[in-house]
Structure formats: structure tokens, C-alpha cells
């Protein structure tokens, strides 16, 4: 078993070395740890509990055996195609930051990760996502050669949203390792939305973002995943929160042949709050797998999770939500809810909460539900003259709205509404 996994891993490593080489900005000690992890564990397949519903090894073996793809330069008119008025628009093509075309707000430092001075990186890079905890984090550490760095300076209030437009233009099979770092210094406030647009070519994106929120920082972070059906991706998000900070994350998944999201938040200091939301609409043969981990390390923190999904066709949708409340973390409030609607008999939903609570004075609750569209509500709408199609849509909209309504940035919410509407058709 391991031998097979390792041969896939070796082949991938070999191919990746050809196209990307080793990460120039990554300390060699981290790369060493990462390579060793890969050597010992390989790329996970469905025999690993954590990847039970998401056989990445098989995908790589079948679809990304040789990485013969080419990056195609993006057209010059990105601004005409992707632009949000009243926001700061940033452009990344194939994970590389286009500084010239981007709008960079004052009191920030935004640049490609390879260009960040070592001193800035040192404190945070690989501090929140362990290089030897997961194969994709390890791969990323070993081979990332691009990515975005955002620093919001202490006390800066960025009034307009920052919209990161992720554009992928490739030919044939390509495998990206992109590494991003967002540092929100103390007392800063920002809204960051990342939109992943339908890609050309067949891509595997191993995207890893580390986020640090300083004391009293407030961050609204959205990811809109709509990279199309020849897209495969593992997105890892590792967040570390200092005292009194508030981090909200919403992920919207509308397309992708395989989408695996690993979201991990560490509440390292007291009085912090984190909100994790998700809305997925999966269809056809799509596999979407959300794993979240909220680690309450210190007292008086709050976490709130709401993941909703609509699964159609033969798609498989997974939500696995871990909450740790460590011994020290008294007065924790942790809530988690996962609600799903099955639109077809062939679709599958796996929803699994995993709570581990070692403190005694805590409030925790979790709930999951999976069912069909509410027949009573459907009949009620029809009895008022609303046709089957629109009645279903109305109900699904209502279902989705609970999540979309949590997005702080109006433009993002409107964008997501439209994508949701289109995906329903």
C-alpha cells in the first residue's frame, strides 16, 4: 500500500521539481521536514481516515501523472473582465501576483511572496500550517514557488474590500503549489475576498494560506471557489488568532471536480471570536470535502460554524468539523451546525462533527441535518400558484441565504448570489 502511494508521490515530486523546483522563500529546515513527511506518508488515499471521502492519490495517479502543461500568459484586459468598483482589485494569474495591474491600498504591504523580505516572513511562515502534519501542506512547503503576501499595518482600517481575482490560464495538465500569507496586525480591520474563476486546462491547485490576526484585529475573509469542472484543488487555510481578534471566513464552492478544503483556526489567546461559514452546491460527479478544525486553546473565546450544502447529481459532499476545547479553555462557547439538502437520490452527504472537550466550564453544541427539500413548504408554494421549478429555487435560495447573509461585503454577497443562481440552472 505505502509503496504504491510512495511511487505516486515520487513521481509527482519528480514532475514538480522539473516545473517548479524548490521554494526559494522557504527555510531549508522546513523543506527538509516536509520532504521527510512525504517520504514517510505519501499522498493520502481513501484508506486514511482524514481523506476517506477524497482519494487524492487516485486523482493524481490518474489525472496528473505527467505535468506536461504550459502556463499561458493572461490577456492584458483582466481589468475589463474582472473588476469590482469601490474595491481594491488585485490580480493573480496562475498564482502569480500582477503588481502593475493591481490596486494596492495605503497602510498595507501587498506583493508576491517571493519578494517579501525575510524578516517579514520569518515570524509567520510555516508557523501556523505545519510542514509535517499533512501531505498537501508538506508538498506546498517543499514546492511552492508563487503566492500572495498581504500585510495590513497595525491600526489600519481598510474601508473598501480587497478583492483578489485568481485567474488560471493553462494548457493541459498543470499542478500549482501556491503559498500565501496574510498578516493582519493589531487593531487593523479588513475585508478580503478571493474569487477563483473558471480555469482553462486541467489544473491541480495546492493552495495554502496562513493568516495571522493580531490583537483586536477584525478580518472578514471570503473564498469563492468556482474554478470549473476540470479543476482539482486542495485549499489549506491555517489561521492563528491573538487576543480579542475577530476572524470570519466564508467559503462558497460552486464548481471543481475535486475540492478539498482544510480550514484550521487556532484561538491562541483570550477573548477572540471566529466564524466559519460554508455554502456548497455540488453536482455531477463532483467531490467536495470540507474539513474544519477550531482549536480553543485559551479561555473566553467563541467559535461559530455554519456549513450548508446542496448536493445534486452523483456528487459527494463531506463536512467534517473538529472542535478541540483544551484544558485551559474555560468559558468557551463553541457552536457548529451543518445542514444539507439532497437533490438527487444518487448524491451523498457525509456530515460528521468531532468534538473533543477537555475543559469543564464550556458551552458547546453541534447539529447536522441532511434531507430533501421540505415537501410541506414546496406544496405550500405550489398551492399559491408557484410552479415546481421556481418553488424549488425559492426554497434553495432561502436555504443558501442564511450563509450568504453572513458575508460582510455587499459586492461579494451579490456576486455569490448570482453564482448560486446560475449554478442552480
Amino acid at each position: 500500500m505505502l509503496a504504491e502511494k510512495l511511487s505516486v508521490t515520487h513521481q509527482l515530486s519528480e514532475e514538480l521539481s522539473k516545473i517548479s523546483g524548490k521554494a526559494s522563500f522557504m527555510p531549508s529546515s522546513e523543506i527538509g521536514k516536509a520532504l521527510q513527511y512525504l517520504e514517510e506518508h505519501g499522498i493520502p488515499n481513501n484508506k486514511q481516515e482524514e481523506y476517506k471521502y477524497c482519494n487524492t492519490e487516485a486523482i493524481i495517479r490518474k489525472e496528473f501523472k505527467s505535468l506536461n502543461g504550459k502556463e499561458i500568459p493572461a490577456s492584458k484586459d483582466l481589468k475589463n473582465r474582472y473588476y469590482v468598483g469601490g474595491a481594491y482589485n488585485l490580480y493573480l494569474v496562475n498564482g502569480r501576483f500582477l503588481e502593475q495591474q493591481s490596486e494596492i491600498p495605503a497602510k498595507t504591504m501587498i506583493t508576491s511572496i517571493e519578494e517579501v523580505p525575510g524578516a517579514e516572513l520569518q515570524k509567520h511562515l510555516s508557523a501556523y500550517a505545519k510542514s509535517d502534519g499533512d501531505a498537501f501542506a508538506a508538498l506546498n512547503t517543499a514546492y511552492a514557488d508563487r503566492g500572495l503576501f498581504i500585510k495590513i499595518e497595525a491600526g489600519a482600517l481598510i474601508e473598501k474590500a480587497i478583492i483578489v481575482h485568481h485567474v488560471y490560464t493553462t494548457k493541459d495538465s498543470f499542478f500549482f503549489n501556491a503559498r500565501n500569507l496574510f498578516v493582519i496586525e493589531k487593531n487593523a480591520q479588513v475585508r478580503i475576498t478571493e474569487a477563483f474563476y473558471p480555469a482553462t486546462g486541467k489544473n491541480f491547485l495546492n493552495n495554502l494560506t496562513e493568516v495571522f490576526t493580531g490583537e483586536h484585529a477584525q478580518v472578514n475573509h471570503c473564498q469563492v471557489q468556482n474554478a470549473g469542472n476540470s479543476f482539482y484543488g486542495v485549499d489549506t487555510l491555517a489561521v492563528s488568532q491573538n487576543r480579542c481578534s475577530n476572524y470570519s471566513h466564508s467559503v462558497f464552492t460552486f464548481s471543481g471536480a475535486l475540492v478539498r478544503n482544510n480550514v484550521a483556526v487556532a484561538l491562541n489567546e483570550e477573548f477572540s471570536e471566529c466564524h466559519l461559514n460554508g455554502l456548497t452546491l455540488s453536482k455531477n460527479q463532483q467531490v467536495v470535502d470540507h474539513h474544519t478544525l477550531v482549536d480553543h486553546q485559551k479561555p473566553n473565546c467563541q467559535s461559530n460554524e455554519l456549513y450548508k450544502g446542496v448536493a445534486d447529481g452523483r456528487s459527494m459532499l463531506t463536512f467534517n468539523g473538529q472542535i478541540f476545547v483544551e484544558k485551559d479553555a474555560q468559558k468557551t462557547n463553541a457552536y457548529q451546525s451543518s445542514k444539507n439538502i439532497l437533490l438527487s437520490d444518487d448524491a451523498t452527504v457525509n456530515a460528521k462533527p468531532e468534538l473533543e472537550i477537555y475543559a469543564n466550564d464550556v458551552k458547546c453544541s453541534h447539529g447536522t441535518s441532511t434531507g430533501k427539500v421540505d415537501e410541506n413548504a414546496l406544496f405550500y408554494l405550489k398551492a399559491r400558484g408557484i410552479g415546481e421549478e421556481s418553488a424549488r429555487k425559492l426554497l434553495l435560495h432561502a436555504f443558501a441565504h442564511e450563509v450568504i447573509g453572513k458575508v460582510a461585503d455587499h459586492d461579494t454577497a451579490a456576486f455569490v448570489e448570482i453564482l448560486f443562481e446560475n449554478s442552480l440552472n
Partner: protein
């Protein structure tokens, strides 16, 4: 307007309607009374097109059309309205959006253009006043967190906006306080015309003081066992169903 002949229906193999006959003409008000479980809601659900029930016999004509052939939404578009005994809560769908969608789908079916935003708002406002529905409620999600009485009033509000030809009110009076009862009845009366008809299902003669029926029918074990004028309701109020039950149960043996 509505002609029900020997209608029979069952659910999960259990027979509930045992041959209903009912003729309703434009301009008429019919009351249907009967003990719990006699099949009143089943009759209204079957007429509205609830798919859980199997119609095993009989026929229903609605303005000359075979009602049982139509999808529930088309029945509504043809002008049938059911005020539910238990209105459904639909979180996330606003009352206003719901009504606009319903109204426009009905209009499209009838070959009319979508209603202008201004006209719609005026309509909503007018009907809201008619049933004295708190304006705040119309902005909220359909029935979500409404009190029992508010839900019933919302049913009549929807009826007022959609202006049906035949309205079936399934125990719209239960759960209403005296004032609300008067308001709802008043609303129904104002909407009454020589071109439309109403079927009120109720347990209480009280409602019929406000909405005066032309006919009263008693439903028992899935059959209309007696019909009469409004005085039948008084008789029931006084004597209860015992006599009817006895008589019918004996006849059954």
C-alpha cells in the same frame, strides 16, 4: 363553479374520503362541519392537489375543467385557493417576495404581464389594511415565528392579494381571538362577490355569525351525511354530533 362527484381518496391504503358529493355555485358560501378526523382537511388537500393522497374514484370539475388532472400550481392559477389549517413556515423566503412570485406566475398563466412594482406595493398595502396585518409581518419570512393567529391572518391576506375564484378556508377561525375573528371574517366578506365562492371549514357556529353560509354540510367518516341551511349549524352547536354519529353508525352496520 365546483362540482364534486363521488370523490374517494385514501392515504397509505387507508380510505378517508368515501364518496363526497358537493356542488358550489358562484356567489355561494358553503360551510363544512364535522367531528375531528372526519376528513375535512383531507377533502381540502385533495382539492388543492396534495400528492400524498391517492384519489381512487370520482371526479371534480372546476369551472368546467377536470381539476384532478391539474398540477397543484395550475389549480391555484385557475383560481383555487386553500387557506391552510396549519400554514407552513418557510424561513428565508420573505412574504413579499413569495407573494410577488405567486402573483406573477398566476398572471403569466393567464397571459397577463408581470405586475408593476408600484402597483404591487399599493396592492399589498391595501390588502394588509383590509385584514389589519402588521406591516412588519409582510417583510418577514413566510410565517416564520408568527403566532397562531398571525398565521391565519396571513392566509387571508394572501387570499386577498391573489383574489381567487374559490377559496377554501380550513379552520381559519381556530386560534383567533374575538377581534381577529371579526377582522378575518370581515376581510372574507369584503372579498365576496357574485363571481366567487367560499367554502369555510369550521367547528364553531360563532364564525358563521360573521360569514353567513348559504349551505351547511356535515362531514362524517369521509361522507357528507347531512346538508342544510345555516340553521343546521345552530342545531349542531346545541346537540353536538352524537345524534348524527349514532344514526350514521347504525346505518353503517
Amino acid at each position: 363553479m365546483l362540482s364534486v362527484k363521488n370523490l374517494q381518496a385514501e392515504i397509505n391504503g387507508k380510505k378517508i374520503l368515501n364518496g363526497i358529493n358537493l356542488e358550489v355555485k358562484a356567489g355561494e358560501v358553503h360551510a363544512i362541519m364535522g367531528p375531528n378526523g372526519s376528513g375535512k382537511s383531507t377533502l381540502s388537500a385533495v382539492l388543492a392537489g396534495r400528492e400524498d393522497y391517492d384519489v381512487t374514484g370520482g371526479e371534480v370539475l372546476f369551472n368546467g375543467k377536470d381539476l384532478l388532472e391539474l398540477a397543484p400550481e395550475d389549480r391555484a392559477r385557475e383560481g383555487l385557493f386553500l387557506a391552510f389549517q396549519y400554514p407552513v413556515e418557510i424561513p428565508g423566503v420573505s412574504n413579499v417576495n413569495f407573494l410577488r412570485t405567486a402573483l406573477n406566475e398566476i398572471r403569466t398563466y393567464r397571459g397577463q404581464p408581470a405586475i408593476e412594482a408600484k402597483e404591487f406595493l399599493a396592492l399589498i398595502k391595501e390588502k394588509q389594511q383590509l385584514v389589519e396585518l402588521d406591516a412588519k409581518l409582510t417583510g418577514r419570512s413566510v410565517n416564520e415565528g408568527f403566532s397562531g393567529g398571525e398565521k391565519k391572518r396571513n392566509e387571508i391576506f394572501q387570499m386577498a392579494v391573489l383574489n381567487p375564484k374559490l377559496a377554501i378556508l380550513d379552520e381559519t377561525d381556530s386560534g383567533l381571538d374575538i377581534d381577529a375573528l371579526r377582522i378575518v371574517a370581515n376581510g372574507v366578506n369584503k372579498l365576496k362577490s357574485k363571481d366567487n365562492a367560499t367554502i369555510v371549514i369550521t367547528h364553531y357556529q360563532r364564525l358563521l355569525d360573521y360569514i353567513v353560509p348559504d349551505f351547511v354540510h356535515i362531514l362524517y367518516k369521509g361522507k357528507i351525511v347531512r346538508s342544510g341551511g345555516k340553521e343546521l349549524a345552530f342545531e349542531l352547536e346545541e346537540k353536538g354530533y352524537d345524534e348524527i354519529k349514532k344514526k350514521y353508525d347504525i346505518a353503517e352496520v
